[in-house]
Symmetry: D2
Subunit: 339 residues, 4 copies
């Protein structure tokens, strides 16, 4: 049984609390810490069977009974809290991204060196049944060598302008998931990125210095070409699909809906829109990723997504941003040379 | 080159004229006969390259240059004209049904005895790409022995009450195609029929002594169970689908639409309705059935659908009607004992 | 908070224990009783947080702290334990069927008279997302008045011959779910049943006095016609689909699979088989049905499926059996006249 | 009735001869010219009802009875024969591309100036039912303003290396159709192009100086971003799909297959591969494009695809090639400034 502390009880923190409580038999949450903890959240945590709630995450770091922490706080705290937890000998599950700053991620990499700490980054989509099955189709060799990878990722509605301003921008906030997905599907890293992007959804996003629509092409180490498209607003719901085309065939997945009923009337044959957003779409994936983290701790195996898997999508995002700014293809190695 | 005469230049006659002219290289239409032939139709026929038009079908029967006739006239004339044509040594393609009266069909059977005449009945759906592929899936053994066969057949709109009155009723006019389809998919004959039916679409159909909605179950010689459902009105268009479930799997087909485009909006993901009616849906099948008739003549092979294939669905239709009238399962052998 | 006792810790009992523990916040299981309780099950129950385990279900009946019981024991005990529990003032959730014997069901009906006891029967499919959405499409009026209802229900593999012998037969053991589904989709009762059935899967099932393949047609009170097909063996997995055709359109659902990935190779475009069996397919539905039972207790509302909803599919099953035996359509009123 | 001459009786010439003969009532082919005309082709043409066959296309140019010519000869002859035909007062349907050289296309543009000659370029996909329906969904406003356009186009097998060498390369030979499609779907021109490309299918293609796999992104005049992917070899068949994502929704089409039958076995649920190649997929589109050309002549209206629609995809192809060579985004205006 792994004893866990949760740092950050916002939306994603609550998702993990719920998952662990309901689905993960070999983990128990001892403490939840959040600087903005209110009575309502504290009461909810008690009802979920959690012993302690606190505003001070150091109670978790300093608790010798706690084996592992889940860092669900704001992005700027991910790196320093990771390092504190590592130093305290705790296994760490850190929400994505570790940071927008490469140096701060490298500080975590350095902290991990020489330890046996398990570190996992929260790219939840890898644990979704449809994306896992797509990866399996590639990994099984059914479609041969990957030649072209297409990933579409479109949110149902744009975030607030206030959020946009602190988000790190579309490439680090939203497309970072798709950079990870391209690596997952290709089974290798990207070497070069080229960005086309525009402000088509909301001029306010442009005024905040960001874009809301983008098509990014990538060269992969194995020779495959990849393309990601993002939009901050798909009015029909959360649209998350991918396709891998290879030397022996093609595999693709589709969105999930709340049911597969179709209704035929004189106006057409109509099915349901995709599940609205990530909490609906990926609830099972959130449980699965934490389940695998706990299992890695118990079995002493590698986590499915280590700290370098947290770094590389950030490099891709920074390259994509640079490509947009300089209107040219940008090599990943221009951002950072990985040995 | 097979020289053809067309008897009956109504809707289905014109379909065959168009098909032969455009698609069938080894047939030429010499004469079109129709008692109600008007100037417009005659001019159209000329434009299609047909030499003669006449009100008297006997000009076709008596023309020694004509090898084959297509009987597209009203149902009550199918049997007598078939017999006349057979006696004149002509090959015969006869629209379905040959007749609603078993004796009149048997008269055609008798007329054919001892001759080399090719006789084909116009069950066009057997030549549709989706139904052929379904039959192929069964015949290939992919799904093993058939256990359950389901056929749905729903028209986009009911015929006029005047038509209903002379149609022979839903079982002989509409479901007769599905009786043929069940035989085609099962690869054998039916032995027993049970009918549930109702007037749900238009009370006028009930007043005319017919039903507009029916579910008929059948036992097949090979042990399979079959079920057909019919409605005179599917507001979303012509709905023609089938499914065969067997010991090793299941095969099913779907409707065709004018395109496969789907549009996702906040209201759903909508594709097109099925093609509206039989002229749109089965145009290619009409060409294919006549093409195979001509080929059978040229090669001296059997036609794909002989006179007994015209008789059997009529027996099934009469049994279905009797089942409805007497509210009990009816064996085909009660209608006629086939040796 | 509703305190619950579980009677029967076999497969379905464990499903309910898991659901309540993980998903139902307002219920707590105090005691699990099973006459064959072994150490393994007892240990599992403890791990799930259940205080008591016993071989004697009377400990549950006699426990004044327990508000509600879930009867998951063998079918022959459903009626007597229901009556005991009702007399002890407990709310009852009873697995389907209440009994195969109408008198025994009526004894439960009588026991409930004049009480405020909540009674629910376990027809889980009504709580499946795809069947609920289909019912919603009908209930919303989108497809108008129902005219034809089709339900397919095919198991991935036949049960053991030993089970077949005590199962009550295909109509009471398997098709009973579909009888309930037809009532659910039509929104009314059936008035008449006609059965075609055969032994096509396993001769041993025939030797045990049962059938393994059946097509049953039904007349519904609202005039609609319905047809159910069942097979004990669909080699491609659990096949559970339905379609409702009406005056304004048609609605249909499909199977769920473990992912929606399709792989295109030179051999075809292949998607996954349906989820293998009911535990995979209906796990969420099991949680939902018990959740609504608990909610009905807490809010004092009717349960979604009362004791009469348990009776009526049994009447339909008995009529279907009689129809098969007597080879004729059978009215439900021949089995029992419902006032 | 429009009298037509066909120049070039290779594969595509034969397609047009067949279409016109079978489907286009208001056109008649008087003469077919091909420098390599053999007896077999001449006999076939006679059988199709064509009066004259010749090796000298000038017989067509000089025949005052001929109203229109279809230029189906090799690409290098398109421009000079177009100009000869225009000077002789004939309407011209020219297969794509007019030329790979902008100057030669501009010579045709110049020749047309001040005349009433109808000129049409053979981008057949615009006349395919699925692409037309997709364009209609965009043009109707159903999906709002286009934001992202995705076009996939993959051939079932690579051409011979000999063909590759004279083809003009992937961008002018193959992707040129997709450049036209992007213009069609967006309803406007591209302004900039960026190319990622690779040799992944056959090293011989690389040795011949070409690529066989490419992902090209484009900026459109209306602000939309577009992406095209091409492969010379999709082993599952001719894969031609597109998707338009916009402010109010998304529309996408799919491939056509020879039937829509799916077969479920224990190994999966399998449908048919796409129609094998362009002759199967676009046969109806070839007839429709020539039908509209003839109609434009008869009604005096514009052709659906004028000479500038022939020029612009060539500019896009040249820009894509330049982008690949110079590894940077290239503006269309760098290739040619269009006023």
């Amino acid at each position: 049984m792994v004893t866990v502390g949760i740092i950050g009880a916002g939306r994603i923190g609550k998702v993990h609390i719920t998952s662990i409580t309901n689905f993960i038999q070999n983990a128990v949450i001892k403490t939840v810490a959040d600087p903005f903890l209110n009575d309502e959240t504290a009461a909810w945590a008690k009802k979920m069977g959690i012993k302690n709630t606190t505003k001070d995450y150091k109670e978790i770091i300093n608790d010798p009974e706690i084996d592992a922490v889940l860092i669900c706080s704001s992005t700027d705290t991910h790196s320093p809290i990771s390092i504190e937890a590592i130093k305290a000998g705790k296994h760490v599950f850190c929400e994505k991204p570790i940071d927008h700053d490469v140096d701060k991620i490298m500080a975590v990499v350095d902290a991990l060196k020489g330890t046996d700490i398990k570190y996992q980054v929260g790219f939840n989509r890898r644990f979704d049944h449809n994306f896992m099955a797509l990866r399996d189709a590639v990994a099984s060799g059914k479609i041969g060598d990957p030649h072209i990878i297409r990933v579409s990722s479109r949110d149902p509605e744009p975030p607030s302008i206030d959020y946009v301003k602190v988000s790190g921008g579309l490439f680090l906030d939203m497309m970072i998931h798709d950079f990870d997905m391209v690596r997952f599907l290709a089974g290798c890293d990207a070497t070069e990125v080229y960005t086309e992007a525009a402000v088509l959804v909301d001029p306010g996003i442009g005024e905040a210095g960001d874009v809301d629509t983008a098509v990014v092409t990538l060269k992969m180490e194995n020779g495959a070409l990849a393309v990601i498209d993002n939009s901050r607003q798909a009015v029909y719901g959360y649209d998350q699909r991918a396709e891998v085309f290879g030397s022996k065939g093609m595999a693709m997945n589709a969105n999930d809906s709340s049911s597969n009923v179709v209704v035929a009337t004189k106006d057409g044959v109509t099915g349901e829109v995709p599940l609205h957003f990530f909490l609906e779409r990926y609830m099972n994936a959130y449980a699965k990723e934490v389940g695998e983290f706990i299992e890695a701790i118990e079995k002493g195996t590698d986590t499915p997504l280590g700290v370098m898997d947290g770094l590389k999508p950030v490099l891709m995002g920074l390259a994509a941003k640079k490509s947009l700014d300089e209107h040219r293809p940008v090599k990943i190695s221009e951002i950072m040379e990985l040995k």
